[in-house]
């Protein structure tokens, strides 16, 4: 499906919940505001001519330069990006959704940014969101049991954050 037609359709249906788009990118993407994410996903999955029944992947990208000297030249404002890759098995097309989040909720370090969970739309999102929470530190509101999946339950911090520091020791094991 042509990107522009789909974008127009989404904009008409959801108005300002569609925050932006980049159709010139290698994988064209549509940006959705967090409060509209579940509705948009529900629509994309159920609409008979879209049928995005497969959620391939959820990724969090941490845009942050820990070195203050380089930060000015980094070319981006510090933020966290959630990237949802969707595809349709029957219609054989794919789409990328993005959600922009602050790195910390209310800019208080340690307070995880919140986004609604799409595990009610695709059940595969259950594990993917647990992984994103575990490694990148995003709180998915409405997830049935959001807890760590790859790291141990008592692990501290979120390793894929750019400012993450390895703990000095973990249960008597030297970290660094």
């Amino acid at each position: 499906m042509a990107g522009q037609t789909l974008l127009d359709r989404l904009k008409q249906k959801f108005g300002d919940k569609i925050a932006g788009a980049n159709l010139q990118a290698i994988d064209p993407w549509v940006e959705v505001r967090p409060d509209g994410l579940v509705e948009v996903c529900q629509y994309l999955k159920q609409e008979p001519d879209l049928k995005f029944e497969l959620l391939n992947c959820i990724t969090a990208v941490d845009y942050f330069e820990p070195d203050p000297k380089k930060a000015a030249k980094a070319g981006f404002e510090p933020h966290l990006e959630l990237v949802y890759h969707l595809s349709s098995v029957t219609k054989k097309h794919s789409l990328v959704l993005k959600v922009m989040l602050p790195r910390w909720k209310d800019d208080v370090p340690g307070q995880l940014p919140e986004v609604p969970s799409v595990s009610g739309v695709w059940r595969t999102a259950d594990w993917h969101e647990r992984e994103v929470y575990d490694l990148s530190g995003v709180w998915f509101v409405g997830h049935p049991h959001l807890r760590r999946i790859l790291c141990p339950e008592d692990w501290e911090g979120h390793p894929l954050r750019k400012d993450y520091e390895l703990p000095l020791e973990y249960h008597g094991i030297r970290g660094r």
Binding site: V61, A74, V83, K92, L135
Partner: protein
Amino acid sequence: MAIDTGDPRIIEFDVRTDELLVNMGPQHPSTHGVLRLVLKTDGEVVSDVEPHIGYLHRCAEKIGENLTPRQWIPYTDRMDYLAGMSMNLGWSLCVEKLLNYEVPEKGRHLRVIIAELQRIASHLVGMGAYGLDLGTFSPFLYAFREREKILDLFEEACGARLTYSYITPGGATADLPRGWLQKCEAFLDQFEPVIQEYHTLLTSNAIFIKRTAGIGILSPEMALDYGCTGPVLRGSGVDYDLRRDGEERYTEMYDGYAFEVICQRHGHYPQDHDYPPVPKEAVLGDCWHRFYVRMLEVVQSVDLVRQGIERYSRARGSWGEPIKLSTKLPKGEAYLETECPRGQMGFYIVSDGSAIPIRARARSSSFCNLSVAPELCRGCLIADVPAIIGSLDIVMGEIDR
């Protein structure tokens, strides 16, 4: 299997039994690596399964943020260590997509040959280990005997037997050595008749059918909902294979190759070869069908390697030199999925314009395939749990990354 309390043969149905939590793994031979399952059981019947993963987590994605794409290739090997070549290929194609780099024709055919040989090797392990799960030892030895020959071929091409780092962004580290194609053809000629042995040992074996047919039935809707891909999805009758339906950058590798996606359409499987019949006990989407799809894909891959050899020997020019170790990446991001032996393996790269990406992500196929296991195991017998987990053919290295 659900227990029917009205069945007169069951005499203890009104006895109150307690639920028991049983720990299986992480050091259990039939969990295929370090997978820990917590089973909630009522007698022999499993009422819930909770997989615990992460025992093999090596922070591969974090390492990827500190290395250039070519330096990360050896780490992709160690994800799905039974299909290292396919992992290399997935990452290489993703990086090439970001760079907008075209691999020469000869390199593309080389990649098809290598990737399909890898698929055979990987499915052989899957098949042999599945036999082990169900209590038969010989298919495992038969499978490893043939896999060994593929590893010999790989060793000759790149020097390694398990973690290859052979396919790299740009092409491959070296061309195939002289005389390799003849050896490969000799292997295929010898291997093709052997497949019949596997069918006799497993596919049409009465005990095997009893253990797998009608067990762990996965409906196509549930498979898609849980993001299952590869043989698990096709075993449920969904006609989807990225080699045909994927992105152009990937499908152009297979341009002109004749192959039919292995899945049951209109009640029957492709009939281009002499395959054993589907037993009447088997239900679409059960363990037997997932196994059968893998067995048929082995034959399909043999055909593809033959076609690849023919095209490769006709192609002229370079096989594709690897890109420079510190090639600057353009600013942007790219996501690409390839059809690996275990399903759709996706790689995602985000770059800010330097040589080192700011994010390297691997979407693991086994990760999603395993997430459906609690759903499949609910209500089955304890002895069926290894049968179901084995039929998903998971590799923990890929799940935990």
